[in-house]
């Protein structure tokens, strides 16, 4: 390939060359960072919770008034829900994954330890919890009905039996022998680990202890409760529609908030990751438009060059150059410019990523993305220049004899 003559010719078009290279460099910097953000956000929004999320409904309920205890009305409610046709199972809790609000504290292996231990989220429930959520018990057993108790606001929750996630169990007992061991929650009495579940995430979406969860066989005696309902397959819509009526028929003194009152778990997930989904959409649109504009810019400038050099092309053709020679000349020229562009662009991309890393606590760009971006832009350049190059190759040798 005749690279040297191409470089020599490019020296006569410094401005255009630099502009195309610069545009490719900037596009690469933005596109691979944007695509990386898209990837990261989509991955975040699809993180599993460890539950079977289909046919699951979450109800956020607030009792009104100030009865001396909420326990009987909670019990009546949950019995009414379980009795609904189409309901497979249900239980009452303080919070659930992706709700973005809940309770966490430290679990330790000794009652008076002040250091160590592991941060854990608390889910209150009963013997129906595992089945309703569809989480997988990998060791030990479920709660029994007789183990389920209650506790008051300002009391420290610490039942005699708890079920924990494998992550929490391994953190507290790195030897893997957590089952049957006693642990202590802050301010509480000893609790024995009677079961271990494979995975269940905390109610928040940004925590450094995402999989560290304790399920306690307790009902929190409080006016705010969440009901989790597993429906039979195909019955989700029917149950979803009739839940409010069933609950209000049992007891009118309650509020089911308009927005977050009753949600299918798909909605819970969509609400939780709203901002991430938005960023992914925005960045995808930006990438698409940016690539289109860059391609259009290359087509425009290449067409101009072809127009400018018709005479030279004609001379080359008259001196024996084949059509394919002309075509490959322009393709190679573009490739060289794009190559310079992606080299600079790689540095810009890494710089931008570093800047966003320090300013917005984002992850550093993975090198795969830069590579994908490099290949994409080189390909884009070749595709964009193809039409003008083809036109150039059709210039007739007669042009050499005409004045421009």
């Amino acid at each position: 390939m005749q690279i040297l003559p191409i470089l020599a010719a490019l020296r006569r078009h410094k401005a255009g060359t630099i502009l195309i290279a610069l545009q490719i460099a900037l596009t690469l910097a933005i596109v691979c960072n944007a695509l990386f953000i898209v990837h990261e956000r989509v991955e975040r929004a699809n993180r599993p919770t460890g539950m079977n999320e289909s046919n699951l409904i979450a109800v956020q309920n607030r009792y009104v008034g100030a009865p001396s205890t909420y326990l009987p009305i909670i019990r009546t409610d949950i019995q009414a829900i379980r009795a609904m046709p189409g309901v497979e199972d249900a239980y009452v809790t303080n919070t659930y994954p992706l709700r973005r609000g809940g309770w966490s504290l430290t679990a330790r292996t000794a009652p008076d330890a002040t250091k160590g231990g592991a941060q854990t989220a608390l889910y209150f429930g009963d013997e129906h919890t595992l089945k309703t959520l569809g989480v997988q018990l990998i060791a030990g057993r479920n709660f029994t009905a007789s183990e389920v108790g209650s506790f008051e606001r300002q009391e420290s929750p610490s039942p005699p039996q708890v079920i924990v996630t494998k992550t929490l169990a391994d953190k507290l007992f790195p030897n893997g022998d957590a089952l049957g061991k006693v642990i202590y929650y802050r301010g509480g009495k000893p609790s024995t680990i009677i079961g271990i579940v494979a995975k269940l995430t905390v109610p928040w979406i940004d925590m450094d202890f995402m999989d560290s969860v304790t399920i306690m066989p307790l009902t929190f005696n409080d006016g705010g409760q969440s009901f989790m309902i597993r429906t039979k397959p195909g019955q989700q819509d029917a149950v979803f529609k009739s839940v409010p009526k069933v609950l209000f028929d049992v007891n009118r003194m309650r509020v089911l908030p308009e927005k977050y009152g009753i949600r299918t778990f798909e909605t819970v997930r969509a609400n939780a990751y709203e901002a991430d989904r938005g960023m992914a959409i925005l960045m995808s649109v930006v990438c698409g438009v940016l690539l289109a504009i860059t391609a259009a810019g290359i087509v425009g400038l290449s067409s101009f060059w072809v127009g400018q050099r018709r005479k030279q092309i004609g001379v080359r053709r008259a001196l024996g150059a084949k059509r394919s020679d002309i075509l490959s000349y322009f393709m190679t020229e573009n490739f060289l410019i794009a190559l310079a562009g992606v080299v600079v662009g790689t540095m810009l991309a890494l710089g931008l990523s570093q800047w966003m890393f320090t300013h917005f606590e984002m992850k550093r760009l993975s090198f795969t993305y830069v590579m994908v971006g490099v290949v994409a832009l080189l390909g884009l350049g070749q595709a964009a220049v193809f039409a003008p190059a083809l036109r150039a190759s059709r210039v007739s040798p007669v042009e050499a004899t005409r004045s421009v």
Binding site: A15, G16, L19, I20, L22, Q23, L26, T27, A29, I30, N33, A34, I37, R62, V64, G65, A66, R153, Q154, E155, S156, R186, G187, G224, F248, R252, M253, R254, V255, P257, E274, A275, G278, M279, I281, L282, M283, V286, V289, L290, I293, T294, A296, G297, G300, L301, S303, F304, W305, G307, Q308, L352, M356, H359, F360, E361, M362, S403, V404
Partner: protein, 435 residues
């Protein structure tokens, strides 16, 4: 001359419709992306209370110590102990403590369902301090605070819901079974960012529809509906909670002069020192007294998504500009013979500059119009990208319209500088010869 150059420009643009369309679209898309994300950024970084933001101060006291705080930043809220001590000292012209309470309002009409409402427990000074607009009655008084009165201020929306918008001052409202007398009705008021309760709202939400006196709320043990952070177990019961180092209260002070702010800062440092002497704090006094804008910036109210998308779309605009420079260069240089003729016939370089910058300006105007349409669509579509409480703050107001047009025209003229300079360098003799 101007109109002649304008005509020339229009004719030239019509001659290469594809190239022209490319440039217009590049500028239009670039400007629209930047303006749309800017509208969100502007909304999230604006001053929620411009007339008073410099005299309202949030107060922080470090009751946790260096072990439990990061980089010396005191916790974002106060404990009950500190908040009430500062209130009692009354070192500011006005001051108020707030915390969010979750309440249900029970309508008198038994056929209507109870409604859940956002609410704050606060002091009488809250309303004059933050310029809360009343449409009926007025705020309760400092005396009502002292008497722990059962008195409330409600929003217009709630007044519409409960009293069909009628006169409700003096009437009773049933909050979770407790009766409160209504002293006033305010307009639906929720400055965005919701500066007085950033730790619990991240700055953006609907605000509250009920306000009740802090002292009364504490008497009724109305639980805090916001974040509650403790570094040690508070122990059982409400009284232990009030005595604990758990943080859940915001304290705001109005300090009308710089001197007042300075002496308040000294007072806060003195308070910390006093607590250290008393043995409660085992660390040097570490308090903060920050005005509204400072407070919002320290609390990172502008979501990172908004900043990242603004940075990315500004990068996008730069690329569109580079693109336009390239296309303009191609377009202008293709007309080298024409420039040669004009120069030979006596046009000075300055004339060439004027002609081509005006041509670029027309592209800018066209790009601006396209950009405006796309910005309008973008602002409508912000809801797809940003969460609802933030998305609805982004609006296409006259300022943004003007800015869009100015940015497009400025961008296109900046992009045209280099190509125009090249055009003006064309040697007439050389062009005429080759023709």
């Amino acid at each position: 001359m101007f109109s002649y150059y304008l005509q020339l420009g229009m004719r030239s643009l019509r001659r290469n419709p594809v190239l022209t369309a490319l440039m217009v679209m590049a500028i239009g898309f670039g400007v629209a992306a930047s303006m749309t994300t800017y509208s969100v950024f502007r909304a999230t970084s604006r001053d929620p209370i411009p007339q008073k933001s410099a005299v309202l101060y949030n107060v922080q006291i470090d009751n946790w110590g260096p072990e439990n705080t990061e980089k010396g930043e005191p916790p974002p809220a106060l404990s009950y102990k500190d908040a009430t001590a500062l209130l009692r000292a009354h070192k500011a012209e006005r001051q108020t403590v707030t915390y969010p309470i979750g309440i249900s309002v029970i309508p008198e009409d038994p056929s209507r369902l109870p409604v859940r409402e956002g609410a704050y427990a606060t002091g009488a000074d809250f309303f004059p301090m933050f310029d809360v607009p009343f449409i009926q009655g007025q705020a309760w008084t400092l005396d009502d605070d002292e008497r722990h009165a059962s008195i409330a201020v409600i929003s217009k929306t709630l007044n519409d819901k409960l009293f069909d918008g009628g006169q409700s001052v003096g009437k009773q409202i049933n909050i979770d079974g407790h009766l409160f007398r209504i002293s006033g009705v305010i307009q639906d008021w929720a400055p965005q960012p919701l500066f007085f309760d950033v730790p619990n709202t991240s700055g953006f939400n609907d605000g509250a529809s009920v306000y009740v006196p802090f002292n009364r709320a504490v008497d009724l043990k109305l639980p805090n509906n916001g974040n509650n952070n403790c570094v040690a177990d508070p122990g059982e019961g409400w009284d232990n909670y009030l005595r604990s180092e758990c943080i859940w209260l915001s304290l705001w002070a109005e300090l009308p002069t710089r001197a007042a702010a300075e002496s308040y800062r000294q007072y806060i440092a003195g308070y910390g020192a006093e607590q250290q002497r008393a043995g409660r704090f085992r660390w040097a006094p570490n308090g903060r007294v920050r005005d509204v804008m400072d407070w919002l910036s320290v609390q990172n109210v502008v979501p990172p998504e908004s900043q990242v998308s603004l940075v990315v779309s500004l990068g996008f605009l730069v690329i569109c500009l580079v693109n336009t420079v390239g296309l303009l260069l191609a377009k202008f240089m293709r007309r080298a013979p024409e420039i040669g003729v004009r120069r030979a016939l006596g046009a000075s370089r300055l004339h060439i500059y004027a002609q081509f910058l005006i041509e670029a300006g027309t592209i800018g105007v066209a790009g601006g119009v396209l950009g405006l349409i796309l910005t309008g669509l973008g602002v409508l579509g912000v809801g797809l990208v940003f969460p609802e409480p933030i998305a609805r703050l982004a609006t296409l107001d006259p300022m943004l319209v003007l800015l869009t047009l100015v940015v497009s025209i400025a961008a296109s003229i900046i992009a045209a500088f280099y190509p125009t300079w090249r055009a003006a360098q064309v040697q007439p003799a050389w062009q005429l010869k080759s023709n």
